[in-house]
């Protein structure tokens, strides 16, 4: 089936529970998530004719040949691997939609998983590949993403003349709301509620960021299937309404220290403008935001760059429970990377599908029709707009 009248959407989803130490291999976790997605889609392995994942992390840990051989995907004719984590998974939605509309594929399997809860060094060591970091950053202890984003938070506070207390309160509210959302999510790694006292007692990692400002480290995996919508799906269809991607003109090695626009992400602003123009949507029509929350501060910065908060006002986004599932601006309804699990945004796509199917249970945002999935806070960025079919 192909043609401009065809809608393409997400037909099946699967994800494991998210744990710090699962006691399972990544192979086991990932294969389970894929099987669950196929089952949810009511498809067989032989129905999958294309596979998509990221190209930075999965090729080294669970490459496409493993998915094909372990799951018996007999009919794969197209493979796409893109970027890192959510940046690539979001972009991959556009690739998958193109394949389906061109009649080249019927069912595109997406997968992503990590065992960084058990193998924690791997979350940081990725950065050791870069000579400039090795020579000019590592000797000085500028290493580990928490340090990068701590310097972002300091500069943000300076730029907007925030006191340490104001900064802590804003970041703390975001962490608190994230935990509240995760407490309603059955797969979440951290489900216990926290209050401001708990946030302020959380140990400092790199000033001003505390442990509760930082993403979890997690073992887990997710998968989903993209197909042309027909009347036979078991669940309410969730459509791919639009996808946009952008690049900032800067070397990846330079980005965290030499970004002329530090602490902002120009690529995120650029692709958001393109997405709204191409889909004809406005920000006010988006019911749910699933944003790459590797750190509380990165969420603040992205919400500003994406245009959902005024510059300097993003620090207040979590006040009065605003970003809770029952708040005025639900953000990361599953608890995100901060509280559900560090799945580099695969979990954000899966959560968006659950919400738009109206299958999120206690965490359901009432009447949710459209969700934005966006990430990551880096030199390249991808946004996807998903919506209910009707």
């Amino acid at each position: 089936m192909s043609g401009s009248g065809t809608n393409v959407g997400i037909r099946g989803i699967g994800e494991t529970h998210y744990l710090r130490k699962s006691g399972r291999t990544l192979d086991d976790l990932q294969a389970t998530a894929i099987r669950d997605a196929l089952s949810d889609a009511e498809l067989s392995p032989s129905d999958i004719d294309a596979v998509v994942t990221d190209c930075a992390i999965m090729p080294l840990s669970y490459s496409v040949d493993k998915a094909i051989s372990q799951l018996g995907l007999l009919n794969v004719r197209h493979v796409g691997t893109f970027s890192t984590g959510l940046i690539g998974l979001n972009y991959g939605l556009d690739f998958a939609r193109s394949l389906v509309l061109a009649g080249k594929a019927s069912n595109v399997l997406f997968y992503f998983g990590v065992d960084w809860g058990s193998a924690t060094g791997n979350a940081y060591s990725y950065h050791e590949r870069f000579p400039m970091k090795l020579h000019y950053e590592l000797p000085y202890g500028f290493y580990g993403q928490p340090v990068y984003y701590a310097t972002y938070a300091q500069r943000y506070a300076y730029d907007y003349e925030l006191s340490a207390a104001e900064l802590a309160e804003g970041l703390g509210d975001i962490a608190i709301n994230s935990r509240y959302n995760a407490s309603l999510n059955k797969h979440a790694q951290e489900q216990s509620l926290i209050a401001m006292d708990d946030y302020l007692a959380s140990p400092l990692i790199a000033d001003p960021l505390r442990k509760l400002d930082c993403s979890l480290l997690t073992d887990g995996a997710g998968a989903f299937v993209v197909s042309a919508v027909d009347g036979s799906w078991a669940h309410d269809p969730v459509l791919i309404r639009g996808v946009s991607h952008a690049q900032q003109v800067i070397d990846d090695q330079d980005f965290y220290t030499q970004n002329p626009r530090h602490p902002q992400f120009p690529a995120s602003a650029l692709c958001m403008e393109n997405l709204l123009r191409e889909t004809g949507m406005s920000r006010s029509e988006i019911d749910i935001l699933e944003i790459y929350d590797c750190f509380t501060i990165s969420l603040v910065l992205q919400l500003e760059s994406l245009g959902f908060c005024e510059p300097g006002d993003g620090i207040h986004v979590g006040s009065s429970g605003r970003t809770r599932v029952d708040g005025a601006m639900p953000v990361n309804t599953h608890g995100g990377l901060l509280s559900q699990g560090y799945m580099l945004g695969m979990n954000h796509l899966i959560e968006a599908v659950r919400q738009l199917r109206h299958e999120a249970g206690e965490a359901q945002v009432p009447g949710a029709r459209t969700a934005l999935v966006a990430g990551a806070p880096a030199r390249e960025y991808s946004v996807a707009l998903l919506s209910r079919a009707q």
Partner: protein
């Protein structure tokens, strides 16, 4: 060709940075050729005085070698001579609570132990 850490110049208070004579501009991090004209560059001594652009006090070690150095003040310093150059460094001779964005700082060379290369840190001016 690329050495570990910032390299001090022969004059006190100077650093070596990649410099393109045609553009009369330095760049950072060192690139294969001048990012402005694609021409060749040379190492040039430049006044190392600058201001803290941003910083953090690191309290947890993300690599084994950092464990004995905590708490560590990590900063990027924008050079007064060319402020788009931001050097990653450590702020020394300064209490962890005294570092702040906008603080004027100057380079201080830390000699390497047992023949290891010297490291350039920064201290309050």
């Amino acid at each position: 060709m690329v050495k570990r850490g910032l390299r001090p110049g022969s004059e006190p208070g100077t650093l070596l940075v990649p410099y393109c004579g045609a553009c009369r501009l330095a760049h950072w991090y060192p690139k294969p050729s001048c990012p402005y004209c694609s021409g060749e560059w040379d190492w040039k001594e430049i006044d190392g005085a600058g201001l803290i652009f941003t910083f953090s006090v690191v309290r947890r070690a993300f690599s084994a070698e950092l464990a004995g150095r905590l708490p560590l003040v990590v900063a990027t310093v924008a050079l007064n001579a060319q402020p788009d150059i931001r050097l990653v460094t450590n702020i020394v001779d300064c209490g962890a609570g005294d570092a702040r964005i906008g603080l004027g700082v100057t380079p201080v060379v830390e000699e390497g132990a047992d023949g290891a290369e010297a490291l350039v840190n920064y201290r309050p001016a």
